[in-house]
Symmetry: C2
Subunit: 209 residues, 2 copies
């Protein structure tokens, strides 16, 4: 197909597609004349991935380049590929150098050890969790392992389900896109369902009607 | 205690405390002389609630006024009070008037009916969920009830746990604060744990080591 059809089918302007080619995110089409290149399904699939990474993951071009390089390199295992994607998404919370922060981060590390989870020391989610521990403590709601248990159980069940859904049949690009969607969009789904479930639980426990 | 001590113990400046009094968020102290007022524990507790609503809920003064009025009015049931707080937190996503949105919102309403949940039609979480349905469909990951099941289960378990934790012994102010913390901060806890659990599940399923 020509670039105009690629534009129609991807919903991206020709200008945006050319920008992605210049940035090395999308391979050039095969030249069929001095002014015309031919594109195929892989270009369209790649554009859909880039759009998802930009819109859902809100990722800068540099992070997208890194993820695409990992997709294209078959020497990178699916597990490493997931790590690259998830760590790029963040959120990257700033780790202040104060004792409250250090104590919270140590609690997080101890929790992960206790759960026996295989998570690298540089996982951004460790800092995100430490950040919430600091906020909870400051507000007079210090966290305990018992408090965390239902959340750990819920998170584990959901993550197990998501990983079980990954099949070897899909392309690596589609698999990354699916993980991105699970991470960012299904977390919003979980948040929305949590609020709805809270209202229902409150109605049953405290409702007058 | 004097306003200076109230400032020390709440961590808020005297200026901020006076602003809250002017806005009607905090009752005046009892005048002990022409230039001095006396404050007590209830003032301190109220300031902690206001801080939590501002910092954690990111709420404007008008929403805080509404929540405080509901706390002070014993005619408002705990269930209504929770609703006032939760609906004020939002997030309030804009509902565009297009067919995709309407279809997604109808799916959300059908889901809530099917689950038998007691949730008002104006709950902001309905729109939040519809918003994610639209995004998932656009990215080629249309949602089905089967896909949602693990998320519904996780959300329900967490919400039940949170409501079971509410005791009649705590003051209404403390109860609202605790709900706010559950809603906003424990959702961040759940997000962080979800990412960590994903990494662990991926290591077990796809890791090479």
């Amino acid at each position: 197909m020509q670039i105009s059809e690629l534009s129609d089918r991807s919903g991206l302007t020709v200008q945006t597609i050319k920008f992605y080619i210049r940035e090395g995110l999308l391979p050039k089409g095969s030249a069929v004349s001095a002014t015309r290149s031919e594109y195929d399904r892989r270009h369209l699939e790649r554009l859909r991935l880039i759009s998802a990474l930009r819109e859902v993951g809100d990722l800068p071009v540099a992070a997208i380049q890194q993820i695409i390089a990992a997709i294209d390199d078959d020497g990178v295992s699916l597990h490493e590929l997931f790590g690259t994607t998830q760590y790029a998404i963040g959120p990257h919370v700033a780790a202040p150098h104060d004792p409250h922060w250090r104590a919270a981060r140590e609690d997080v590390d101890a929790l992960i050890r206790e759960l026996g989870w295989s998570v690298t020391p540089r996982a951004p989610a460790r800092d995100l969790l430490a950040h919430t521990f600091v906020a909870l403590r400051r507000l007079g709601f210090p966290i305990t392992l018992t408090d965390l248990r239902p959340y750990v159980r819920a998170a584990t069940e959901v993550a197990e389900h998501e990983m079980a859904r990954v099949t070897d049949e899909a392309s690596r690009a589609r698999t990354v896109q699916s993980l991105l969607v699970s991470t960012v969009l299904y977390e919003q789904v979980l948040t929305a369902l949590h609020r709805l479930a809270q209202e229902d639980a409150s109605a049953r426990r405290f409702g007058t009607g």
